[in-house]
């Protein structure tokens, strides 16, 4: 088997030092948890809670206890088991997820930036279902849905249009119960949902060191139904974390460790994925940078830390961009980041379909990312070395000046090389004769071809009706 390639940004001493400092902050200073019921549950489980300030501290013993119960691997499940996968993957490969919360959409037909809609998001989910290298479909924001229930509408669209595992994050505290009702309606029963949780829940820290009510509400729901938690730290270097790379890593480490300990206090054994979503504030402008070098290094170092010190699978921002077009800058950013992060050991690479900033999605970029990911996956997989692949006998048989085109060995292996359809070139003359099309043009054509075959999942009418009724109920109770 090929050796999985890995890079190490931190020494063992670095990892230990980060862990000790994170444990010190959690034990001596604490974090703020803005959810009364969660505070109660955490206190019962041994956390040191000050109800007046909502500050929570965790003793060294409780941290060690949580690290002992947190599962080392997580099975990620969709509504169809053919899409299931386990992280860390036994072969060392990574998996991918699309981008969340996209409110804006780069229209492939007009090139304009338009609002995301329920129709566009449904088509997006159907496209994800067909793309071979995209493994998880994340929630987006249909702007034609009522703002108060946009997340409920979006989850309903996800559940009805792709059977792949989903990534969910709530947009407000009040909508969380409806999100769980939707999952129950899709699964059929609480027992069925526990057996096949359909999604990853992504509670998010409010860096530095705050855990909001709606995120704790999601944690409680996840604990109730055994849904894997992909808890994320969203530290912004220079703004909500120290400006230095190592300082950003430490904020991420504290928040991820706090999330991990809380998850195990709420439900020992709850599957947990450390999710590394840090960015950098460009201190020249105040804008967020998603794909700059310092951010990549902070993510890679945090990923290494989480694998080594916490022993859990890792998801990271990886297919992010600082360009607003599916252009050369985007392509460069979407190769450097995922390559480094895959080499750092990340199990799930986040952001397929994302363009610049944190709210823009492009279906054409999603198609490009699907193909790019296959190239990175192949390249970081390493080299398989055995008698057959070394092929010494073949070399001897071909002899000096011979060739390998007619060898059975070549015939046997000739379809193994990766040939991503968007990237494999024809000769120059043929390419020019075919219109001299650039990557974006070719990807747009492929997207339009794929679009012809898209359709929603064939769900039973009563399941669809039950789900639609949950959305109606959310609209009735939450709007206005």
């Amino acid at each position: 088997m090929a050796k999985t390639l890995r890079v190490q940004l931190l020494s063992e001493d670095d990892v230990d030092s980060i862990f000790e400092k994170a444990a010190h902050i959690l034990g001596a200073h604490g974090v703020k948890v803005d959810h009364d019921k969660a505070l109660e549950r955490l206190a019962q489980a041994g956390a040191l809670v000050d109800p007046a300030t909502k500050m929570v501290r965790f003793s060294r013993e409780s941290i060690e206890a949580a690290l002992a119960t947190v599962p080392r691997s997580v099975k990620v499940m969709g509504s169809d088991e053919k899409h299931d996968f386990t992280v860390p993957d036994p072969t060392g490969r990574f998996y991918t997820t699309t981008c969340v919360q996209s409110m804006r959409y780069h229209d492939p037909d007009t090139g304009e930036y338009v609002e995301n809609t329920r129709q566009r998001f449904a088509e997006w989910c159907q496209l994800v279902e067909t793309l071979p290298n995209i493994d998880v479909c994340a929630i987006q924001t249909p702007m034609d849905a009522p703002p108060e229930t946009a997340d409920v509408h979006a989850l309903n669209i996800q559940l009805q249009n792709t059977a792949k595992p989903l990534m969910l994050l709530a947009y407000c505290h009040e909508s969380v119960p409806y999100l769980f009702e939707l999952m129950l309606a899709r699964a059929g029963s609480a027992e069925a949902l526990r057996k096949r949780p359909l999604l990853l829940i992504n509670p998010t820290s409010l860096s530095p060191l705050v855990f909001k009510g709606m995120d704790m509400e999601q944690m409680l729901g996840a604990a109730e139904y055994d849904i894997p938690v992909a808890a994320n730290s969203l530290a912004i270097a220079g703004a909500t974390a120290p400006v230095t790379i190592a300082g950003t890593v430490l904020v991420e480490a504290v928040e991820l460790l706090a999330f991990l300990v809380m998850s195990q206090m709420l439900k020992p054994g709850l599957p947990f994925i450390a999710t590394v979503f840090n960015t950098t504030m460009d201190l020249g402008t105040g804008n967020a940078l998603l794909a700059n070098s310092e951010t990549i290094l902070a993510r890679a170092a945090t990923a290494q830390f989480a694998k080594a010190a916490l022993g859990v699978p890792v998801e990271t921002f990886a297919l992010m961009a600082d360009s607003y077009l599916p252009d050369g800058q985007t392509a460069a950013e979407k190769v450097l980041q995922p390559t480094i992060l895959a080499l750092a050991g990340a199990d799930i690479l986040y952001g397929a379909g994302r363009l610049g900033g944190s709210t823009l999605a492009s279906p054409v970029e999603l198609v490009i990312d699907d193909r790019l990911v296959s190239v990175i996956q192949r390249t970081v997989a390493g080299v398989e070395v055995d008698d057959d692949t070394l092929a010494m006998d073949e070399i001897v048989a071909a002899g000096p000046g011979g060739h390998f085109l007619r060898r059975k060995h070549t015939l046997r292996h000739c379809r193994e090389a990766l040939r991503p359809d968007l990237f494999v070139p024809d000769v120059l003359d043929n390419w020019v004769a075919a219109g001299g099309k650039d990557l974006f043009t070719r990807a747009t054509e492929l997207y339009k071809e794929l679009k012809k075959g898209l359709e929603p999942l064939p769900l039973p009418d009563d399941v669809k009706r039950d789900m639609d009724n949950v959305v109606k109920s959310a609209d009735e109770h939450l709007i206005g």
């Binding site: 803005d34 409110m103 609002e115 924001t141 702007m143 703002p147 108060e148 229930t149 946009a150 997340d151 947009y171 407000c172 505290h173 909508s175 409010l206 705050v210 909001k212 912004i236 703004a239 909500t240 504030m281 201190l283 020249g284 402008t285 105040g286 804008n287 900033g357 944190s358 709210t359």
Partner: protein, 207 residues
Amino acid sequence: MAFDSLQQAVIEGEAEETVRLVQQHLDEGRDAVDILDNGLIAAMDDVGAKFSAGELFIPEMLVSAEAMQEGLALLKPLLIENASGGRGTVVIGAVKGDLHDIGKNLVVLMLEGAGFTVVDLGTDVSPEDFVEAARANGAGIVAMSALLVTTMPHMKTTVDQLRAAGLGAKAIVGGAPLTQSYADEITADGYASDAPGAVILCKSMLA
């Protein structure tokens, strides 16, 4: 020029020197409004221009803003209420239900640096609290931010309540999910897509 040294002290972020020079100008009998407008704020306009040109970074600009604020503290007791000094008052907050405030905090720092009096209501601010603070502080502008699409409707409620209260304050909005078209839809008076844009917007409204 009379305020060259003072302006230079602010631009270089030298708080002690700024305070010393403000005091010196006062001792020489200069008007507080004159010192504020042509010394401190003129310096921060220069700082703002250097920032826009990419010559200064945010932390460097904030050092200048702190120096300016320390100088201003000396002048404040001398400035007659509603006098022409300063740029006016902005009441700002993240709207009801929204706890995300890094973008709002950046706007606060930049507005203060530009010479506005800023009343920061923090996060999760109800429409009633915006209206009350606008009234109590005689605000020229009420600035609202949101990160979550679910909290955006509270912007409309706040705009409506400001108008119903008969206050003259302009309502402006910003934040990741916001767009000019949403601002138009809720009849906000302005929208900015980033913090420097918010400062430009406020300057244009309270010119």
